[in-house]
Assembly symmetry: D2
Homo-oligomer: 448 residues x 4
């Protein structure tokens, strides 16, 4: 029985992740993500109404047309976590496969929202939530297991396939964080056990391999210390206060709420995507907001909240989207004077996010900060830690799993290759057992 890993998307970009694994005649698909950067090149893109083939041509979603040449039966579409570069294309692609959608409860709840927003396609695949630590049989030969991981969104897992030829681990995206509040630490023991049982192939994210520095990624505990130190004075001040962060980063949102809850400020989480990610997380008991916190999603509710905050600026902490300066997100609209809340001298604006490096973000962020400062705001930048494993975390991961084969994924070529060099330092060899794939290429293993 041969095993084949088919690179569909995310092997030439950060975004639109999709990988298929074929074991004998059975196929499992991992992730169906979107590539948001591409949209800034094509201004006229209206995703919700567009056809998949058009989106494929623009490079916005994975080109899964190669799947028609794969001779096998798809037994499941498995999602590692709920970020858009992993689930964002589900409504455009999943209906082509007659098979269930599988993810952790938080991930599948987000997928359901995604499907409900779709205007072009009808998606009727059954949806199967699976808890971290649980298993499900996908076919005679394949059992899927979700091993607990940590990332910058709750209920991220390592989906693992148990096959007759060995274990296949899909490790997009993760960090090793032992100190999160809303998520338990990664299940290192299980990872070591898998390593002992025999991992045939590891498909692995590569985000931080490129920095070529022998470091671990800082824990969210570090972000908590940073934010505590940053927020202390602004919370007590008379001026307005805004924190902007990723709406999907529930751990961070919990931290912000916890720090602010004993202050005299109400905490207002504002914007549609805040409502989506926080709402579901609250429903599932993952996010526990204090009584002084409110989430407002509809434009009307947001506006009303901003009006209150404008009048009593020392009574509210606004938590918004827009940290990359995206012109239509809330914080940039506030900075441009397009909302009822106006930035005034001394207002404190904390960016609990990095600048995700691409030229458009750099320009948007520059414009945003210029406007904020022109109106007198004080900015605090980069109150953030990465959600992706560092080089030394990856090194430990390889030592735990001892995979026979490695397929670096989720990155541009230089990132995949940087991971390859890391794995070479651990005794692997590019071209032998490290396989650098391009989108639409496949790698076949003969298990035993």
């Amino acid at each position: 029985m041969t095993v084949e890993v088919i690179a569909i998307g995310g092997y030439e970009e950060v975004g639109k992740n999709m990988t298929a694994v074929k074991v004998g005649e059975d196929v499992v698909i991992f992730d169906m993500g979107i590539h948001l950067d591409r949209i800034s090149i094509h201004e006229d893109t209206d995703i919700d109404r567009m056809h998949s083939l058009d989106l494929i041509e623009r490079g916005i979603i994975p080109d899964d047309t190669i799947m028609k040449d794969v001779d096998g039966k798809v037994k499941g579409i498995v999602f590692s976590h709920g970020h858009l570069d992993h689930i964002g294309a589900v409504a455009k692609l999943a209906h082509r496969y007659d098979t269930p959608i599988i993810g952790t409860p938080y991930t599948t709840a987000l997928i359901e929202k995604q499907i409900r927003g779709e205007r072009k396609f009808k998606v009727n695949n059954p949806i199967r939530p699976l808890n971290p630590g649980s298993k499900i049989k996908l076919s005679k030969d394949i059992t899927l297991e979700f091993v607990q991981s940590t990332h910058s969104i709750p209920q991220a897992v390592f989906p693992v396939l148990h096959t007759p030829e060995g274990i296949i681990v899909y490790a997009l995206d993760f960090k090793f964080d032992n100190h999160q509040k809303v998520s338990p630490p990664p299940d290192y023991n299980r990872l070591r056990e898998l390593g002992r049982k025999g991992v045939l192939a590891l498909i692995v994210e590569t985000t931080n391999a490129i920095n070529y520095t022998e470091t671990r990624t800082y824990s969210e505990k570090v972000a908590r210390i940073i934010l505590e130190d940053l927020m202390r004075e602004p919370l007590k001040a008379k001026e307005g206060m805004i924190v902007t962060t990723f709406s999907s980063h529930i751990e961070r949102i919990q931290t912000i709420a916890d720090i602010a809850k004993n202050s005299d400020r109400e905490i207002l989480f504002l914007g549609r995507s805040m409502e989506r990610f926080c709402g579901i997380a609250q429903n599932l008991g993952i996010l526990k907001l204090p009584r002084t916190a409110y989430v407002h999603g509809s434009p009307k509710a947001v506006n009303k909240a901003l009006m209150k905050a404008e009048d009593d600026r020392d009574k509210y902490l606004l938590v918004t989207t827009g940290h990359q300066g995206e012109p239509d997100a809330l914080l940039p609209r506030i900075a441009s004077g397009r909302t009822p809340f106006n930035i005034k001298k001394g207002d404190n604006v904390i960016f609990s996010a990095p600048i995700i490096p691409n030229p458009t973000n750099a320009a948007n962020r520059h414009i945003l900060e210029s406007k904020l400062k022109a109106n007198g705001a004080r900015i605090y930048a980069n109150a953030h830690v990465s959600g992706h494993a560092g080089r030394e975390d990856h090194r430990d991961f390889l030592r735990m799993l001892k995979p026979k084969h490695i397929i670096p994924a989720h990155g541009e070529l230089d990132m995949l290759v940087a991971y390859g060099e890391l794995a070479e330092e651990e005794g692997y060899r590019i071209g032998n057992n490290i396989h650098i794939l391009r989108n639409a290429q496949a790698q076949v293993f003969n298990g035993n």
Copy 2:
């Protein structure tokens, strides 16, 4: 008699240059420029119709309101050359001063165009063209001389004031180029003579001081060699061909035309600003286009030209604006499919310009190149040499002029300071005879 140098604009930015020099009771103003970068921050800026005070508040033109506290009579507004960061605010500011406008013929012709385009103010100052190498008496105590310089626009000069207290040299902007076609080399002999007579103060541009490398700036002769090598094959090819460069860079435009004139392609210079700069340069006999070259400025004429080029793409060389990716310039509109000419596979697009470093340009250019490549164009980047003196050119300049005092200008603080460090290597000292000014600050010298 005291001499005072008053920094009005361009001492905290690259752009909106304006300096006043007061000698006894007489004042001479140098340059009235615009700061184009600021406009990308304020999207709603309609320069032609806006009042100077609004433009001052947005940081788009120099804040000359400090001039009301200067006790003296303005005897002339002197323009060093015709770039917009030196003349772009003339129509907003000059009418406040009852004094003539002085520049070389090419510069004053551009200023006249500028004034004709103004919708808010009436500008009636007399305009006095003065040739490089000539002098004019501005007051009993002040004679203005234009010393031949070289830059990336024709008829750039060093305006020099002869005063009882010594000579004042205004050196914004220049390079030392001995091999230009449309401009003679700088008048080194005269510069050395001025040095021997006694230069009290040098106000000097700083663009390339910041690179901290001991180099001279390459001559335009180097740009010619590069362009010859780049253009040879595309001129003979069957595909479309575009060169984009600065419309004010007449030397470069002459080079492009000269290289292309023996090919089978007609040369079409397209766009309003191309028409403005080329037209005036032709009228003054500075630019000598071959018979196969045409300049089209009006949208209608441009469109017609593009239609012809679309049908017979091997018959035309298009020379356009838009090298920074400015969304409304011609090349970006072509790349977006918003003109009759469509980029096709194999079209050659030569950027005879650098990316002027700021986040907006980086983003716009990235988007432009992505679109061009997506349509199959082959790009040639950075076929360009700088128009600003290198560190070693500056060093020579100081050794020629031997000024008593140095005022670095036209740059952000780090650029002024980098020039200061260069001058320290030549025996000067920041704080003693190198004066770092901020906008609205002044430096007083007691000549003898």
Copy 3:
């Protein structure tokens, strides 16, 4: 009564700090540091035996010969903290002044060591330890106060002069760290009080102003979390283990010892400078090493310790100097096989230090890491947080002190200027009340 700040050293470099403040006829000197980078240019420098004038010529110690033109009586030499760039020239310069040496107990103990090592000069100045929070009268008009600060060495203070013309604060070097173990937090209340009383001038370090990012410097608490995560597994492993850090960074050394004390490894602090800084810190009760920790300074003792560690590599944690790859420091000598301890496959080497950016360090560190890796070591880089205030810390500091005048210090020109720009954002103005000095320049204030 005029106040004059005289820049002697450290205004054109990171290193050899020395500043004099003249109040009427009285003078106070702050710091006498060394510039270690310059030694790598002059290979034949034997500091202990060289005359101050030779060291001055080579740029290794501050050029205090300008002090002979200062008409006033020196009333004290005050040391802010015990780093070599602040105390390293004391034995070369202090004897020229007939005045006491003043510092915190830890600083003066280090100065005494420094003086005992001197071979050229006899230094007989009285030494006066002064505790953080205490005051001493230096002259009729000047009282010195030590305000508690935090930095990367114990007992760092802000020396403050109370004068009839206002308060002068000397803030080299500091961070705002509320979570150190061996040092209490900075005395923010006292700083605010000084601000209310009236600060005439602030002389302030600038290290991190240049990064132009609106961040605070991470607390040592973050370094503790990082080191705990990094050291956990290596402490339990069978392989050799080395941590290298600054020997003067007692807080960090305490952290390393605390983390390791419950492991099965003895902790060996090795090297002359480890012995010097740790020994004094232990004597003063600042550093509290566990029973399993030993400090060895003499070459013989170090060798013996390394021999033991070579034989029982899982029984020892070596803490060494050499993190910059300095060829004669301990870790580089270990890596080159010039000691009894040999790097073997799997040994863990943790760099609890950054690469201090200069070309020599980059080269030395590259060679060091190449050798460590060639022998099979696993490296952990940059387990470190900065000891210098971040831009937002500086901003708070200015808001606490509200000084009338600011003199940025301890940096190259671009660093001083970057601080200047930060202060301009807070309402100050370079050239008006921010004064950029070069070595040997002075700034005079008329207090009231």
Copy 4:
């Protein structure tokens, strides 16, 4: 008949190039280079006396021990050009193969020198010079052709194998320069002809692919213009004058001599390697020095020449080695005062070379420049153009040759991969017909 390309060295580093090509049972070896950077890690390396196995272990020469597993007969060792990273290991490795050494006359003359300097091995392989444009039959199935190329050393060629399975082109190292004085332009027509005949595989250098900018490499004609502008004044000055450049860069040396020959200065080329490369180039009629030029190689002759220059500094132009700051090369020794010629105020030192990027060079060069400046020299940096093809040159090259398969070589992984991305833009695909090899890996092609 299968064709196999075996990567021996230079596929993981810039340096120690060696590649074998097996066609049926016949093997051809290309280049045997040295990796000079590695020596700075191992200070005790005495190359001339060391055994190849030790040098292999230290990574200084290619590990050709894998050749013992190659089942075939070596029919020739072919050298592309005379740089040390291509010929430097010939004396350590060639004797193991019973086959002739083949190169252009200049290259083989350099190889003979190399062999005469060897102290450990006896190298008796016959040496066969072959002119650019000529062919030689290596076996029944293989004919070797030398196609004229250009690089930064004379008589660089593209060695081409004509085989029954197609043509194999070895393109290490080259640029496309149409304006050299000592070398004719590349034979573009022949390259196009080869493309039409059918190129099976291209093994190609990658140096400049990594800059990701769509440019061609500047011609040496540009270096001539730069040097003319730079040298004009120093040649006429009273001060000392030094130019430092690559001793193997005969084109550059010719340029320097040509510029200087009408001055009043004698031109002294100084140092052993200057003597080696210039001497052979003169013997072969490649380099034509004017009567006022002298080459001195022996320490005694160099010293004597420097003594003369010290006394009459305006009478000599010194051309030396040492542009990377290598401590034992001539210019660094001059700067340290270790020769009879001392740097004095105003001496002009022109670096006609880049800083080859690695940490050791950066440090050495920093120290060198600091010393030169401390003694008053004026430095001119980077009077240089690259000797390696730019991205657009590579693109043209691919369009000429239209190879079926591409093997990027001579670089670290990121460089090989950057070339791969360039080739992908031209329609190739990594993993399909672009093959990224690691040292000791091989790629098999089945020609037809």
